[in-house]
């Protein structure tokens, strides 16, 4: 068994020269933080995680520690070796922290009982120091080495206090009382002036190192705080918390003796709660954070000030003096556009001014037209063109030269429209662009003008009958089709080749309202796919077959992907050069840009309330956000980040509860797989089967409760289930090599309006058609249901319902044995129960096959029959099962793993003489693990069984001849080990994915 890749908690990160070193599980990793390249990964401990490390001042040595393990190693060896586990040492007590002495020839190890072990670089103990009568356990602590003989220990206790003691005098200097609850971190400034501590109570306290006086308390975090660090010459503090944010604080001196902690910035850094690691690179002003989600995140502490030109603000007064124009007293900014030369700004009195980005100056534009009634409808950057319109049906087109001077103006009027309220612009090609115009009168046509760019003449005028209830909001052009995003989550399709053709409208694409953007993404088998965003936060990918498009046939389009952003309004989206989906929009007054694929924020900007005017434009490499507040205009440059945003992408914020590999089909040197997590999300990702590299595609947020199961039921469908009776049937589209798509096709009906039962497990049996199937779902209140899924009508029909007893059912399986359809359950009472449901469903078992046949029997609801067999197997809950049907001897073999640490082989047969189902335990291994067995998986032609258990040992058993012979065992770094799935490669080797708090990929 060999580990190919591992994603999981990272507990400590540090900058050193141009590198970031990260404690990642039992490894130390070295990254180049400018390129995000992982330069080396070195195994430090056999089993323990590296909780922390320190690099000596001369950069030669490293002390790594975690739980009771320590290792003192040269940095060089960490950079070049793959494994240094033979150097691991064990301490008798848990190590809280470890630090080098000033000269770097000794290390100090603080243990959980508030003792400091001093040892040399070979781990020989030189001395043990402590203070009298203070031996209660610590959660945290730090050692401040001020000089060779001045060393202080800050010990963070479980109840509220920090004990500061002098290492060599073994005397207490201060007992800092002020926090309520455990101290999770304590550190001192390296000038010996301050101590900062954080705790359970969500506050940071700054203390005077000299006097022990409490100087200031920092409130702001909304949850427990895990880590702190002084930076920028001890003038600032940075903190990370369970609220997923990282915050910066300035240590401000008000007058000579009053010192205040003032919160400066908030950065969203991790997916969930546990953010452990934190460091700052002072010379570059970047921070690095690490957490349970396995992500290593870089944070630009100067995100909005690094280049000095990120934020430009002009009031009308500024513009007035620069451009030498007069504005009236209550004049406002009404509209703006951004071009390569700078900006064009239009005011409420109809004045036009341009901004030159080179000279930072404003110039007036003299116009013969009175522009007061107009507003800017849009611009085309490549053509330096701005389009204005008013509600009197006039359109004005203005062109600027590359210096921002007006070079052309044209005006068109569309008399036949009642009133133009909505005008949109779209570039077509070098010579032409188009304008759409819409009037609120339903009888008026929807108009599209094709404009000749050089002359601004109207080349063609298309008048379409306007669909009912249609208010346009966004625009895309695909060939001769105009795609218009509209209110009520709809999309109108207009054929520019045939004005008389009735426009086709796709309505209610998602639950939200206005379609804010439509964008062509790619073609699959010649059918284009569009990304569609909705203001209410939904986004969809929709394939449209223009060849068969009509209003009567809904089959011309297919929603192949659907999801919702975590929070906020969605205004648009695009793929970046790394094929990551980037979305942007607003969270109340905050504009955000978010990497949806890997779920982290790229940038944000506070800007105005709901009446804001704004525009996100491309500005070469960067984006520029233009917005106004009253009579001020703001240009906010959002530069390509100074460093990569992450050094490593994580997966889930909490435990992975299930994993399923799409085994039927390889996908780009590997396989697609799905993970279902306690954090309520489902991820679709890919792993490379050579090196285990994981690529995330989507993080699906349809479930609202923690997941129980996910499983690909064939090569195009997946099912997920969770609490609140949620069960979704998903359709996978993996035709494209850029990414796979996934969309919920149907959800299972619930028993009540406000369901609160958990669906614990499900299983399916397909009908001959391979599209229809029966599905059984089992519930936490002992209920068992069987459904029929009809593909054509896309519906679930209840076939059977019943209750086992009163206990929760953990697993269910449907098996065909001897022409009987068996429903097998394993509840918390440790029994295996088998129902023969052959005659309760309106489908027939086909002799010799593993599917059912639809003989058009009447569909009626039946009751769960009495069980055929029931017998005890485990002491308590059966946590996991897997089955194998042997056609040669007509048996079902069931492998069960229990909460009682036991592993069993159970056989079900049909007795020939009586035709009765009989079952028995043929093998039981009482101590198969030290803790709950959470996953059993057959592989290697059903001759081997892999078990995963909470004791973090993965075991492989030979199961030939119905015996359990343990062949291999290997420790996994993934805590709370819960699930596994295995795929056999063409070359005969097996790859296993093992999940828990993190994910490991192993070659078996």
């Amino acid at each position: 068994m060999q580990e190919l890749n591992h994603v999981g908690p990272s507990l400590c990160v540090k900058f050193h020269k141009e590198f970031v070193y990260a404690a990642y599980g039992p490894y130390l990793q070295q990254y180049n933080y400018k390129t995000s390249e992982l330069l080396n990964q070195c195994l430090i401990f056999k089993e323990n995680k590296v909780h922390g490390f320190d690099i000596s001042a001369d950069g030669k040595n490293v002390i790594a520690y975690g739980a009771r393990s320590v290792s003192i190693l040269s940095l060089e060896s960490i950079n070049t070796s793959k494994s240094l586990v033979d150097r691991e040492q064990l301490v008798e007590e848990w190590v809280i922290t470890g630090t080098f002495s000033k000269l770097g020839d000794k290390v100090f190890l603080l243990t959980c009982y508030n003792r400091v072990i001093i040892c040399d670089l070979k781990c020989n103990v030189i001395g043990i120091k402590s203070v009298p009568e203070e031996k209660s356990i610590l959660y945290s602590g730090s050692i401040e080495v001020l000089s060779e003989d001045r060393v202080y220990v800050n010990a963070g206790t479980v109840i509220g206090g920090v004990i500061v003691w002098d290492l060599f005098c073994e005397s207490i200097l201060h007992t800092l009382q002020g926090h309520e609850g455990s101290i999770f971190y304590v550190t001192s400034s390296d000038d010996g002036k301050y101590i900062a501590s954080c705790s359970d109570d969500r506050s940071i306290i700054l203390w005077d190192m000299e006097t022990g006086e409490q100087l200031s308390t920092g409130w702001g975090h909304t949850a427990r705080i895990w880590n702190l660090k002084f930076y920028d010459n001890n003038t600032q503090l940075i903190s990370v918390s369970e609220d997923c944010t990282c915050r910066t604080w300035a240590i401000e001196t008000l007058n000579s003796d009053e010192i205040n902690l003032v919160q400066k910035n908030i950065y969203e850094v991790h997916q969930i709660k546990n953010v452990w690691g934190l460091d700052v690179c002072n010379s570059e002003m970047i921070a690095v954070t690490a957490g349970n989600d396995g992500r290593i995140k870089l944070v630009d502490l100067l995100q909005a000030t690094r280049y000095g030109n990120e934020n430009e603000l002009f009031s009308l007064g500024d513009i007035s003096s620069s451009a030498n124009v007069e504005f009236s007293k209550d004049e406002l900014i009404k509209g703006f556009e951004w071009f390569s030369f700078g900006a064009v700004v239009h005011t409420s009195s109809g004045q036009l001014v341009t901004y030159n980005r080179q000279s930072f100056s404003w110039s007036p534009i003299a116009l013969s037209e009175n522009m007061e009634s107009y507003s800017i409808s849009g611009g085309i950057q490549s053509k330096n063109t701005v389009v204005f319109s008013n509600n009197k049906n006039d359109i004005i087109l203005i062109r600027f030269n590359s210096k921002g001077q007006l070079i052309k103006l044209a005006k068109h009027t569309l008399e036949y429209l009642a009133k133009v309220t909505n005008t949109m612009i779209k570039d077509i090609d070098d010579d032409t662009f188009l304008i759409t115009l819409e009037s609120p009168n339903p009888k008026d046509p929807f108009v599209c003008l094709i404009i000749q760019n050089d002359t601004y003449d109207v080349n063609a005028e298309h008048r379409f009958s306007k669909p009912s209830n249609f208010v346009s909001a966004s625009l895309e052009l695909y060939g001769n089709y105009l795609l218009v995003g509209a209110r009520y989550s709809s999309l109108g399709i207009f054929d520019l080749d045939d004005n008389h053709r009735t426009p086709v409208v796709i309505r209610k694409i998602s639950a939200g309202d206005t379609t804010t953007s439509v964008k062509f993404i790619e073609k699959q088998l010649n059918i284009p796919i569009f990304s569609i965003t909705n203001r209410d936060g939904f986004y969809d990918f929709i394939s449209i077959n223009f060849d068969i498009i009509t209003n009567d046939n809904k089959n011309f389009y297919d929603i192949i992907h659907q999801n919702k952003v975590a929070k906020g309004f969605l205004e648009g989206a695009y793929f970046n050069d790394k094929n990551e989906y980037i979305v942007y929009g607003f969270k109340s007054t905050l504009f955000y840009i978010f990497n949806e694929t890997n779920s982290y924020e790229l940038a944000s900007q506070v800007c105005g309330g709901s009446h804001r005017q704004w525009k996100l434009c491309d500005d070469g490499l960067n984006k520029i956000l233009l917005y106004n507040k009253g009579s001020n205009i703001y240009f906010r440059r959002i530069s390509q980040n100074f460093t990569p945003e992450v050094l490593r992408n994580g997966l889930h914020g909490r435990e992975i509860r299930d994993i399923s590999i799409l085994k039927e089909k390889t996908y780009k040197n590997g396989y697609l797989f799905c993970t279902a997590s306690e954090d309520t999300t489902v991820r679709l990702s890919h792993f490379n089967n050579l090196n285990g590299t994981i690529t995330n595609y989507w993080l699906e947020r349809q479930h609202v409760s923690g997941l129980q199961r996910c499983k690909f039921i064939n090569d195009e469908f997946m099912v997920t289930c969770s609490a609140r009776e949620e069960l979704f049937l998903w359709h996978i589209n993996n035709e494209s090599l850029d990414r796979a798509y996934i969309a919920v096709r149907q959800s299972l009906p619930t028993s009540t309006e406000n369901p609160d039962l958990r669906i614990m497990d499900f299983d399916v049996k397909f009908l001959e058609s391979k599209k229809d199937f029966i599905l059984t779902s089992v519930y936490s209140d002992s209920v068992i249901k069987v459904w029929y899924y009809n593909f054509a009508s896309n519906s679930f029909i209840l076939l059977m319902e019943g209750k086992y007893q009163t206990c929760c059912i953990f697993n269910v399986s449907l098996e065909i044995l001897n022409n009987k359809l068996l429903l097998i359950i394993t509840p918390t009472d440790g029994h295996v129960i088998v129902y023969n449901i052959t005659n309760c469903i309106p489908f027939e078992v086909v002799p010799g096959n593993d599917y059912l046949r639809d003989n058009k029997l009447e569909i009626v609801l039946s009751l769960l029959p009495n069980h055929d067999v029931k017998f005890p197997v485990h002491q308590s809950s059966i946590k996991t099962i897997c089955t194998f049907v042997d056609k040669t001897d007509n048996s079902v073999t069931l492998y069960t793993g229990g909460d009682d640490n036991g592993l069993a082989i159970v056989k079900l047969n049909v007795e020939n003489s009586t035709d009765k189902i009989v079952g028995k335990v043929v093998c039981f291994e009482k101590k198969a693990a030290a803790s709950t067995i959470t996953s059993v998986n057959l592989f290697n032609n059903n001759t081997k069984l892999l078990t995963a258990s909470v004791d973090q040992i993965v075991r492989i058993w030979d199961v030939c001849g119905d015996k359990l012979v343990q062949e291999q065992r290997k420790y996994t770094t993934t805590a709370d080990t819960g699930v596994a799935d295995i795929v056999r490669l063409d070359n005969g080797s097996d790859i296993a994915l093992i999940g828990g708090v993190g994910l490991s990929i192993w070659k078996l």
């Binding site: 507990l11 089993e47 995680k49 909780h51 739980a67 320590v70 586990v85 691991e88 040492q89 064990l90 008798e92 007590e93 243990t111 009982y113 508030n114 072990i117 040892c119 103990v125 043990i128 009298p132 009568e133 031996k135 209660s136 356990i137 959660y139 479980v158 455990s182 359970d200 427990r224 709660k273 546990n274 452990w276 349970n292 406000n754 609160d756 936490s780 002992s782 009163t806 206990c807 929760c808 509840p827 918390t828 009472d829 002491q875 308590s876 809950s877 909460d899 009682d900 640490n901 036991g902 009482k926 101590k927 693990a929 030290a930 803790s931 709950t932 909470v950 004791d951 805590a975 709370d976």
Partner: protein
Amino acid sequence: MGKRSKDKRDLYYRKAKEQGYRARSAFKLLQLNEQYHFLDDPNLKRVVDLCAAPGSWSQVLSRKLFVDNKSEDDSGKKIIAVDLQPMSPIDNVTCLQADITHPKTFNKILELFGNEKAQFVCSDGAPDVTGLHDLDEYVQQQLIMSALQLTTCILEKGGVFIAKIFRGRDIDLLYSQLGFLFKKIICAKPRSSRGTSLEAFIVCLDYCPPKDWVPKLDLNKSVTEFFEGCNIKEIHNNSIITKWYEEDRDIVDFMTCGSLDAYDSDATY
């Protein structure tokens, strides 16, 4: 919405209310006792309940000692309950607000007991969970070691110790360590403890410390030092730091407690 409906459906919660227990945890102790009957012993006189707040285990103990097993002379009976949190009074229970990992706490308990020994010590302690699995498990195990430290000073030979555990990665290390002090160790899971949680209870029967080891409380010694010489934490090569070695691990028997028709705690939410 979720929370309220959950409570409503939790049968153990309802049952606790009906029977006047402060917490549903009471049934965990009752179901453990159903299996092992340690509280039904008429000779049971002195017990310690560590990490006791809000106090449902103390309530069970109080009822067992002073109601169910009532004798002519109950004067020698004593229940001491310790927790970080304050506890409202319970009949016949002496409450102490203290940290059980602090050696000074032991002195206080020893003082309250005088020279007499206890027959039963239990600990249902659980630290605040941080989410860092190995840290949480370690703090939990430290709580158990602290409880055990007190137990060795106070428990009479043949006595019983039970403690809450989370069956994580290193639980087999703990099993092995406890094996040096008790004749029989079982990992027990009451049906009232959710099957979906890692919680279980270590039941240690028949206290029997190594012959040549005398537990001695010293405020200047840590738990590790305390157990030196009793084998449970053998100090390798007489050094506090040594080369990594494979530690003794042991898997103990697993037992579910409470009858099969007892409520299933997983069925309730």
